[in-house]
Amino acid sequence: MNTRILASTLIALITALFLSSCGFQSIPQSKNSVEAALAEVNNQYKRRLDLIPNLVNVVKGYAGHEKETLEGVIAARAKASSITIDPTKMNAEQIRKFQGAQGELSQALGRLMVLTENYPNLKADSQFRDLQAQLEGTENRITVARNRYIQAIKEFNDFITVPPYSWTNSLLYHHEKMPQWDLSADEKTKAEKAPDVKF
């Protein structure tokens, strides 16, 4: 009897050791990191949304007749606001839509900022300069958050596809690989951000 108890205890211990070293904790932790990273991305995009009304108002004060560009920004912002994501229920389709809307907003903002180059008084306005600083800071934060999100997804995908953690995944969790944040959408906005300035 004693040997049996000893044997089963030993087996239990080994199993526990195996599990803990093979992703039992790491996989859920990694999944949580991905969700947190996405929440942060969402956070920073929202921060950008919040800056836009003031920016539009200041520009209107100097370049109010540039209706097309200003309305473009307002419309893009409204669209971006309406597409929300829930980090705990990540859905590739939803994320793609979100990215698309934010990308369009980036383009609209880009056009607005290029336009301001034609208005030296606007550029010298201290409120505008402050908003510009805030916008640049926010865009950088978005970039940082996005890169960390991409990194978190990569780590998670590594966990569930690379042995031995992948075995734990197949046995216990059955997680699917997460789709990577599609950088091509962001690249597109960068390319489109610099149209020619007509004098």
């Binding site: 402050d130 600083a133 805030q134 640049e136 800071g137 950088n140 934060r141 978005i142 970039t143 940082v144």
Partner: protein, 212 residues
């Protein structure tokens, strides 16, 4: 850390003192990095890599801040840790760069420019911080207190040397930085900023960049 050898030793000592004061009083881990060139890397990318590698700031307070200057590209950036974003919001960082540092740089006065930058960053974190600073051409005085005395310099030199020794022994404790793309400042192997490390605070990309 002046990799471009552009600051006078007097300026370096002064900056060292300010950074040390803030580290000792646990308000912030403030570091300065001057590099000859960014080698194609955008300064924002370089800055975030550096603060992460150097592990600036404590984990609890996220109070790291980096002032980085790239000479060839004529770019300046202040990278602000999450815990300091209340003291140094993006707008303030921008103003320090464009209103305080850049004017000196345009006159090729890098020592005073960096010193003023560090001082304004320090003041943003702690408005009561006082240190006697005399800045060359414009003769600005930031404090009406006593002048910089010889006794102070001796102490600082000693501390500097001490920290230098400590950094040799504390390799790998967050001071070493091997980054970049194999460029001149990515060679690595030197201690980051004097051998102290807070363990690494959080940076969310806040701060501001500018040029001159």
């Amino acid at each position: 850390m002046d990799l471009a050898n552009i600051l006078t030793s007097q300026t370096q000592l002064k900056i060292q003192k300010i950074c040390q004061d803030f580290w000792n009083s646990k308000k912030a881990q403030l570091q300065v990095l001057i590099i000859p060139t960014l080698d194609e890397t955008p300064i924002e990318q370089a800055a975030i890599k550096i603060v992460e590698k150097w592990k600036l700031g404590t984990e609890k307070e996220d109070n790291g801040v980096l002032l980085i200057v790239a000479l060839k590209e004529r770019k300046i950036r202040i990278e602000v840790g999450q815990g300091l974003e209340g003291h140094i919001p993006d707008v303030i960082a921008k103003r320090i760069i464009s209103d305080q540092i850049a004017p000196f740089f345009r006159k090729n006065n890098f020592s005073d420019g960096v010193l003023v930058g560090v001082l304004f960053i320090a003041r943003a974190i702690d408005p009561n911080y006082n240190i006697a600073v005399e800045v060359g051409q414009t003769n600005r005085h930031f404090s009406k207190n006593k002048r910089y005395s010889l006794g102070d310099s001796a102490l600082i030199i000693i501390l500097f040397v001490l920290f230098g020794f400590l950094s040799l022994f504390s390799r790998g404790r967050g001071g070493i930085w091997r980054g970049g793309r194999g460029s001149s400042w990515g060679g690595g192997g030197f201690g980051g900023g004097g051998g102290w490390s807070g363990g690494g605070g959080g940076f969310s990309g806040g701060g501001s960049s500018g040029d001159w």
